[in-house]
């Protein structure tokens, strides 16, 4: 028989989301909390994000990733009621909140939890997800795994690199490679705009004169044992490569920064409904999923630009789980959010009646001077970019005047120059 332990709350994932949620739940009075992390240490992605720029919103000061993680580790240590289990992997979860884990220290353990918080984060899209033709040589990395190899292991990947994708991790790695003496020949972006933060484009590329090729992609990878060069082509309006304009770039390293996908295998096992727009669970204003007593926060819900927002959102989830355990949150009346013009995703997807709800909104394409319309409210947004979250907080009274749902849209914007 499996060893079963009854606990109040299981938090799955010890990155920024899980740490903040566990500490918030403990602070709100939850007594028996287990925080599960499959890596050997807490922090998730933060320890390898050695660059600065974290914490400006949450702590009002500029920190590096390891410093940001350290603050939350100190916070966790204030609460002896949180049991941290590192090196522990969740093997199975049920809708009844049974969580089966495996770890070297304790073998198989089953937790029967009264509430669960999902904080599994996201993972990188690999080469296979974008089907780049060519050979399969050494020297091809996803940006995040290269970041781990360089910053944690101290590994130098090569001498000349090409980066495909201008997401934030790709931009950060362009600078990191340059600082370590690797020549970054180009950052290629399929779309006509960068999907990264403006400050990263400026401080990671422009500072080091690294060329950014918008509307370009890799059409082939060459090299037998080691990558030797890539073929690159501009793309047309339908994102198809214009082969007549193809050219080659020699390189011994190709870095892929082509998107992040929330990691939701456990969510599916538990029967949680996912939102196709975010790839993460559908959540309400309390970050409760569609399964009773299962909450979710952080990058497993939607991929964030800033860890600060992960912390803020995870504190909401942790406190809500505590309220759920006290019987204060049942199934509340809620209104669905409907995405209108130029809206790719909105989180939370369900606004609880009478509940102030900060929305995290992502646009499909860049534009200027658009009117953000939410239910009956409007606010002007001078600049809209898919790389930057749009923030809007729904007021409690706004839910009284809605016609059964909230439509979110951007109207009347002008094309970005």
């Amino acid at each position: 028989m499996l060893n079963t332990r009854e606990v109040d709350l299981v938090v799955i994932g010890g990155g920024p989301a899980g740490m903040a949620a566990a500490a918030a739940a403990a602070g709100a009075g939850v007594e028996k909390i287990v925080l599960l992390e499959r890596q050997e240490k807490l922090g998730g992605i933060l320890p390898q994000c050695i660059h600065n720029g974290f914490g400006l919103r949450f702590f009002k000061e500029e920190l590096t990733g390891p410093e940001y993680a350290h603050r939350f580790i100190l916070e966790l240590k204030k609460y002896p009621q949180i049991q941290v289990k590192t090196g522990t992997m969740v093997m199975k979860i049920t809708a009844g909140r049974q969580v089966v884990t495996a770890g070297a220290a304790e073998g198989l353990v089953c937790y029967q939890a009264r509430a669960v918080i999902f904080a599994m984060g996201c993972r990188e899209r690999p080469r296979g997800a974008i089907n780049i033709p060519g050979t399969r040589p050494a020297g091809i990395y996803t940006a995040g795994s290269l970041q781990y190899l360089m910053n944690i292991e101290g590994f130098i990947p090569g001498r000349e690199a090409v980066i495909l994708g201008s997401g934030d991790v790709g931009l950060i790695m362009a600078r990191r490679l340059t600082l370590e003496g690797i020549r970054v020949k180009a950052v290629l972006e399929l779309m006509p705009f960068s999907s990264g933060l403006n400050r990263n484009v400026v401080q990671c590329l422009e500072d080091f004169n690294i060329p950014l090729y918008l509307s370009h992609t890799v059409t082939a990878i060459h090299g037998q044992k080691r990558i030797e060069r890539v073929s690159v082509a501009p793309v047309d309006a339908d994102l198809r490569p214009v082969v007549e304009k193809e050219f080659d770039l020699s390189c011994d390293t190709l870095v892929l920064s082509v998107g992040l996908i929330p990691e939701n295998e456990l969510s599916l096992q538990a029967g949680v409904e996912l939102d196709p727009a975010t790839g993460g669970p559908v959540v309400d204003s309390f970050y409760q999923t569609t399964v009773d007593g299962i909450f979710a926060c952080g990058n497993v819900v939607h991929v964030h630009d800033l860890v600060d927002d992960v912390s803020t959102e995870s504190i909401v989830a942790g406190r809500a789980a505590a309220a759920y355990l006290r019987g204060e949150i049942g199934r509340n009346r809620w209104f669905p959010v409907k995405a209108g013009r130029n809206i790719r995703s909105v989180v939370p997807q369900r606004i609880v009646a009478g509940q102030a709800t900060p929305l995290y909104i992502r646009a499909c394409f860049p534009e200027r001077n658009a009117l953000l319309c939410i239910g009956n409210r409007q606010s002007r947004r001078r600049v809209v970019s898919p790389g930057e979250t749009i923030y809007y907080t729904v007021k409690p009274e706004d839910t009284a005047t809605t016609g059964g749902f909230f439509t979110v849209s951007l109207e009347g914007g002008e094309a970005d120059d």
């Binding site: 050695i50 390891p66 410093e67 350290h70 600082l179 403006n198």
Partner: protein, 124 residues
């Protein structure tokens, strides 16, 4: 003429700077912070530099320690600073915030640790 993208907020104003006999002519900014940003970028641009340094031994379980310059250093000092950083080996224990090297590349700014060594804090 130089064109800068302001990084202080998501507006990303495109600021134009022209050198004239009586100084800089700065246009295209939207707020006083943008003006100050452009002026500093044109006269004395500064950046916080982050990197990793080697850890001696291996008893602590870590091969690298993350570091940063305590405050921003002049942009032209970034590569000289990296050369000094690459030559450093640290010996545990190290406290978070501890000075790893004073006066990095002659900037007057110290290099400090951004994580503790050993990182027992992280383990359960």
């Amino acid at each position: 003429m130089t064109e800068l993208t302001c990084i202080l907020c998501p507006l990303g104003c495109r600021i134009r700077v022209e050198r004239e006999e009586d100084g800089l002519k700065i246009t295209g900014y939207d707020c006083p912070r943008g003006l100050a940003y452009a002026r500093e970028e044109m006269t004395a641009p500064k950046r916080i530099l982050t990197a990793v340094v080697k850890v001696a031994g291996g008893e602590s379980g870590e091969s690298m320690l993350p570091v940063k310059t305590k405050t921003a250093i002049p942009k032209e000092k970034i590569f000289p600073a990296m050369e000094e950083i690459k030559a450093i080996t640290v010996f545990p224990p190290v406290k978070i915030g501890q000075v790893i090297k004073e006066n990095l590349a002659g900037t007057g700014v110290p290099l400090v640790a951004t994580a503790p060594l050993p990182d027992d804090d992280y383990r359960s």
